[in-house]
Assembly symmetry: C2
């Protein structure tokens, strides 16, 4: 069970929340796992009060579920909700892609093209980890380039909720072969400074992600 996320002692509630969030993200804390305040306090070297506040924060974010007098647990996001989240992400990331296409500088275009090239060679080399990294980089770069901070914050929060489903995706055989052209299409549209096309490409890509999640979930469960 992992040698623990001991890390440096977290002094305030936000720091504890960050650590717990990271642990969930890393798969150290799995859905439905109980989160006992005293345990977390010891684990992160914080007081119970801080842990309590952190759990409250994570509850608002939707990462953690709390029941009166019965404590907190990692929320298990049902498939339906995961699909909803992808839908919402599609709407928001499409917006970001469009904005990015509008504001793109030549240097930024080069960065995007470089990411695209990296992803291409990752697929050729069959390097799943590199492809996954390129995927993350592409999405977060586009969000950053959009300058839309509200959308960025919202997407972050949503992504934190659906972690569980992200895993399965890259494990799916042939997944990268399907999604690579989608990613390249997004890059092309943004670099061509065509907001509408960029939005459409992003929406289509995330719809395909949604479909893949659905398939992999129904086969796995």
């Amino acid at each position: 069970m992992a040698t623990a996320t001991r890390a440096s002692a977290a002094v305030n509630a936000t720091a504890v929340a960050d650590q717990i969030r990271a642990a969930i993200f890393a798969g150290e804390l799995v859905p439905n796992q109980r989160l006992v305040e005293a345990d977390l306090a010891e684990m992160y070297g914080a007081s119970r009060g801080h842990v309590r506040a952190a759990l409250a924060e994570l509850t608002v974010e939707g990462v953690v579920e709390r029941i009166q007098n019965r404590g907190a647990r990692v929320r298990s996001v049902p498939l339906e909700e995961a699909l909803e989240i992808v839908e919402v992400r599609a709407a928001l990331e499409a917006l970001c892609a469009a904005r990015a296409a509008n504001r793109l500088t030549d240097e930024e275009a080069l960065v995007l093209r470089r990411i695209g090239a990296d992803m291409e060679s990752a697929v050729e080399a069959g390097d799943q980890a590199a492809y996954a990294q390129g995927n993350t980089e592409l999405h977060s770069t586009l969000i950053r380039l959009s300058g839309q901070q509200t959308a960025a914050a919202t997407i972050d929060r949503l992504r934190a909720q659906a972690v569980r489903f992200q895993y399965r995706l890259f494990a799916k055989p042939g997944r990268s072969q399907q999604s690579l052209p989608e990613h390249l299409a997004i890059i092309e549209a943004v670099c061509a400074r065509e907001p509408q096309a960029a939005a459409r490409a992003m929406r289509e890509h995330l719809m395909s992600v949604g479909q893949a999640i659905e398939e992999s979930a129904s086969s796995a469960v």
Copy 2:
């Protein structure tokens, strides 16, 4: 200064948070106003611990701003951010409108048309309050009919942040004359079960809202 929001004593943190949120929404608490824990505790009949937790919650939601050792205050949302919020809402409500168009039953269509008729007569009668209510009802009905709970929750949170700017809008002369046809177009598209058209109509409507906010803000400040 309003005879206070004494209301029934709030027993848990969430209840206190709800009351504070409502007070902000009602304009009793204005941006930048200090929120002293002890005062709020007495006002809502809760312990300081509850108030503290409530403020933490509202901070995560973005309604309240906290500075270390200097307490909490109602966050003042700058114009730029308000426009961002409208942009994000446009993306999300467009999604909802499209989904609603897909799932609409005949009874629901009647409800929408009734709301549209009410808004029309409100404008004719020059009844701003009725028009504002119709507006709220239309938006929230479409969100509900979409069945997209994730989007619904996200929109709610965003709307809570930008309250300050909603006020000014209905005060603006001629505003309802401009937005009425936009609203009716949305209703028509949804009732015609045309998702794309519904999304477009909603997007256009909210873009016009954004523009109106921009104008009214630049003239007011």
